[in-house]
Symmetry: C2
Subunit: 337 residues, 2 copies
DNA sequence: TCATTTTTTGCATGCGCAGTCAAAATGTCA
DNA sequence: TGACATTTTGACTGCGCATGCAAAAAATGA
């Protein structure tokens, strides 16, 4: 038991050379149908499967993609990762997970691990993707894709949803709903998603001659979002609508509104979020939000990454996919229609 | 840029042999402090890092653990995976993710992928871990750990929480709360967690001369759990308490109770769950449940797995960790204390 | 100081496969 | 049938490192 079947063994049994075996298992190689059959038969009988690691060694391609993630707290990430992993698997790649858990120590450690494993490419879905990562990977010639974020550096490819437009849609929606004191619970300002969503939202307000009534920061964390909500609600004059930068924080805000302030949603105050994670649809939240097209984002991310891997000199590209406004019950509806 | 630094280069620069370099980077090898310093200096200057894949080839150990997961829908799994990944990383192992997404096709495909990558060990956290997986891995000599499940086969190591006792605690608690018509929304009967929790629960009821008032199956899926809840609530006589097999389904049940039947929790009906995922603490759920000690489960899982990897012939072992009852507001409290 | 033990070192080999190259087999056309 | 183009094949080498082994160096003891 447990003895390794190598391509040599298969070769011997099939009465061919090891190279022949190798070729049979490498799509697109030149082998006659006759030897292919012999080899496949022998392989079958022996239970042979090519050793991926040896392949990686010899060919210089590991077919491993490093996936860097920070926190699963926000349901959006598990959902996205699941889709990324599936899409990669469908393309014969696999995901090596790197949790950059300790934000301080992580960058260096994670990057080293990543490079040590000779990953063919990297998908960064973590919030705190530092320049260090991207710099060193570039130096090592490893393509990097940013998922759900982008950086100023335009040599970096990134896939996001169209956060600006999404923010704008939300603003439009709230304005049309007749809200007059519209506040914002922001995420971490260092994140492009935050900046884009807020910018879009503000531009949407501005288009109707409005400005933000109040702003408070939740840094994408549940507890901080709750605190941010408390600040807004304790104010002399309360907002009548809040745009929370992502659904995950929106749930926190809703909890504070209902449990602590005993207010009703949307009668007393409207809430809108961003992401449309699975939970947003649950009756207890019923959250109006903008959907991130996770499936397409994952597909595009993988497509571009694989392209960069195969085609050394493909140009960096940034994609922002449109996501629809999903109207549910957490915000007062526009009356005029 | 991008040129590979090999141990040979470091060796040449340091004026030693390649073996020396290799030894310096392998803990526990015999090297003099002097050469170690020379090598480290040269390595530093060249930016050398050992190639993990080559290492794996040469040593036969990939330091990769295959993690098989099925669905992230249930928040418990992302939480667990995060902890498993972190614990493994802390031990210099990494996680290769295998999503067994298509339940029908998956087994064979996933197993093959797993074996092809020469993983050193496997953690199965998926619901549908078939015998096929465990059989083939055993044949290939790869240790397998079952996480949050066990199988009858006692050659398999498994880490779970003590589901029987947990179920029993919940029964005790509901009985002491004066409930008289206690129902159960079950998960998938094929899962050991389901069977153990239910058995414990029933034994707890029996200890007080009670039996289950009604039972309905949700198969661990949200929509089926909702349907199961509807069945229970549409009955002529409604239960006054429901034990739902995991928190994820409990949320679904709560939603149905409140949104569709306009009942109050816990005034009209008590709900208890199992897992204590992060969301259970949220005010909108405030779910009484049994905590799965995820951290310790992850630690034990990794500990045992690494032990099995290093020690060929370590005996299989099954661990069931105790988890506390977490009393919150979703179930009527016992009055007698 | 020399003989003996212990530690350190380098050499050589192999992990399992991919890919290069030249030789062999097959096919084509006149 | 022979001369040539085309496809298929096998020998060989290398990917980057770990490791057994024997030689060299250092440490120890008398």
């Amino acid at each position: 038991m447990g003895e390794k079947i190598t391509s040599y063994m298969v070769a011997k049994r099939a009465g061919v050379s090891q190279s022949a075996v190798s070729r049979v298992f490498k799509p697109g190689s030149s082998v006659s149908e006759k030897t292919a059959r012999k080899v496949r038969k022998a392989a079958e009988e022996l239970g042979y499967r090519p050793n991926t690691l040896a392949r990686a060694m010899a060919s210089g391609r590991s077919r491993i993609i490093g996936l860097v993630v920070a926190y699963f707290e926000n349901q959006f990430y598990p959902e996205a990762i699941e889709k990324l992993a599936n899409t990669l698997q469908a393309n014969d790649y696999h995901v090596l997970m790197f949790m950059s858990w300790d934000e301080t120590e992580a960058p260096e450690t994670v990057i080293n691990d990543l490079l040590d494993y000779q990953v063919d490419g990297i998908i960064a879905a973590s919030v705190g993707v530092t320049d260090v990562l991207t710099k060193r990977c570039e130096a090592a010639g490893i393509p990097v894709m940013l998922f759900n974020r982008h950086q100023n550096d335009d040599k970096l490819s990134a896939v996001t949803s169209d956060n600006f437009t999404g923010g704008r849609k939300l603003a439009e929606f709230l304005v049309r709903g007749g809200h007059e004191r519209i506040a914002h619970v922001a995420g971490w300002d260092g994140a492009s998603t935050q900046r884009d969503r807020e910018a879009g939202f503000l531009s949407g307000l501005a288009a109707h001659g409005m400005t933000l009534f109040a702003r408070s920061c939740g840094n994408f964390h549940r507890d901080q979002a709750q605190e941010a909500a408390r600040v807004l609600l304790r104010a002399e004059e309360r907002p009548d609508a809040i745009f929370v930068s992502n659904d995950h924080m929106a749930f926190a805000v809703m909890d504070v509104i209902r449990s602590e302030f005993k207010l009703r949603i949307p009668e007393d105050i409207s809430i809108v979020g961003y992401d449309d994670v699975a939970m947003s649809e649950w009756p207890c939240f019923d959250l109006t939000t903008v959907r991130q097209p996770t499936n397409r984002m994952a597909e595009e991310t993988v497509r571009i990454l694989l392209q960069m891997i195969e085609n050394e000199e493909s140009l960096p590209c940034r994609i922002a996919l449109d996501g629809p406004l999903v109207v549910r019950g957490s915000a007062r509806l526009p009356v005029d229609e």
